[in-house]
Amino acid sequence: MNKVFLSCAEAVADVPDGAVIMIGGFGGAGGMPQCLIQALREQGAKNLTIISNTGGLAGFGALSGSVTITHNVLIESGQVRKVVASFPVSASPSRPNAFEVLYRQGKVELELVPQGTLAERIRAGGAGIPAFYTPTGVGTAVAQGKETRVFYGQECVLEHALKADYAFLRANRADTTGNLAYKGTSRNFSPLMATAARVTVAEVDEILESGCIDPEVVATPGIYVKRLVKR
């Protein structure tokens, strides 16, 4: 059961038009699967749904002088039909990202989700929990049209699990069984997305022999990872 792919191109080759893809990372360079995204841009699949914390930002958390490739490039190229995110647009209205421009033109849809609800819905998708109640968002636009219910005196809204065809992640290192370890704040959504996709693809700095990651540090056990590629 070899999980190691030799190139990002090979690892994303079978992504079909219409696929639902989770993309890890918080927004900036840390945790962003830049090589897989670039490969998917070149591969050209269309009508994609992207589930990610942001709608694709260019300069978030960027080192000065560096360029981070994010799903922004997939939106620019017109490959994306729908975005599910908590932070879809740039912080500054005067510098709209590709998502905002296309959204205003009606060329891309948005499902806006509070960040904690987004994380929990992805976790639920991976954990076989079809739906849960949360107090987040009650009385706001994100609860419109959703079922609400009072528990212990607190009004809550019913939220449903999110799943995907693919998850693209960046981790710090992997072993050949697919175990992943992350670094610092670059963990964020990736371990959750790894559980919620049919095919999880991890772009990593190093692929080590089985047993070279401390079993206490593994944040994504190999059961969730189908493909590994060294960036």
Partner: protein, 220 residues
């Protein structure tokens, strides 16, 4: 008109609200400035919703590490006692009531403590990020903001006209001219900036302010 507090001074006043040992999440903008003003002798542990508990000051140029940022995308320095975790865990801490205080910016706060801080209606699209979770989940929500918007309109209003972030969630509003408590009976003016009167503050505030018996000048 008397002078207003600058952003740093607002942050200094907010800092006094953080008790020793508190777990605190600071939003983007003025709230981010709060950490540098915590009174001596108090230890506050900061939480960042991108998966971090306890962090050091901002990293200077050349010290940046892409794997150590806050939720605003700023680079941080490490500090002993840090812990890293995933986003579901980060928000379990928030939603589960483990964050003692969050300090958030706002476009508007209503007299019932409704908060609007994620979208200017004129833009038509906006970023929620972690704000709705923090509004609903933190034990105490403090708003730090200017008292009026750039056009001079009150930001403390009877009903928020901007889309809501949370209902009945704000406990305390700290602005560049006043400290106002949100209670079951409405708003209560507790402190005022030097040179200001309760009447002058009421004038730039839409809902009626009850004035605390012991209303006093803001000290930093």
């Amino acid at each position: 008109m008397p002078e207003r507090l600058n952003r740093e001074a607002i942050a200094m006043r907010v800092a006094k609200e953080l008790p020793d040992g508190a777990y605190v999440n600071l939003g983007i903008g003025i709230p981010t400035l709060v950490s540098q003003f915590v009174p001596e002798g108090r230890t506050v542990a900061y939480h960042s919703e991108n998966g971090l508990l306890r962090y050091g000051p901002l990293a200077a140029p050349g010290q940046e590490d892409i794997d150590l940022i806050n939720a605003g995308g700023q680079f941080l320095l490490p500090v002993p006692g840090m812990a890293f975790f995933n986003s579901a865990e980060a928000f379990a801490m928030i939603r589960g009531g483990h964050i003692d205080v969050t300090v958030l910016g706002a476009f508007q706060v209503s007299e019932r403590g409704d908060l609007a801080n994620w979208m200017l209606s004129s833009r038509g699209v906006g970023n929620i990020g972690g704000a709705m979770d923090l509004a609903a989940g933190a034990k105490r929500v403090i708003v730090a903001m200017e008292h009026t918007d750039p056009l001079g309109n009150p930001k403390i209003v009877r009903e928020c006209s901007y889309p809501l972030t949370g209902q009945h969630c704000v406990s305390l509003i700290i602005t560049d001219v006043a400290v106002i408590e949100v209670g079951a009976a409405g708003l209560r003016l507790r402190e005022i900036a030097p040179g200001w009167t309760p009447e002058a503050i009421q004038e730039i505030t839409e809902p009626r302010l009850a004035v605390a018996d012991n209303v006093k000048e803001i000290t930093l």
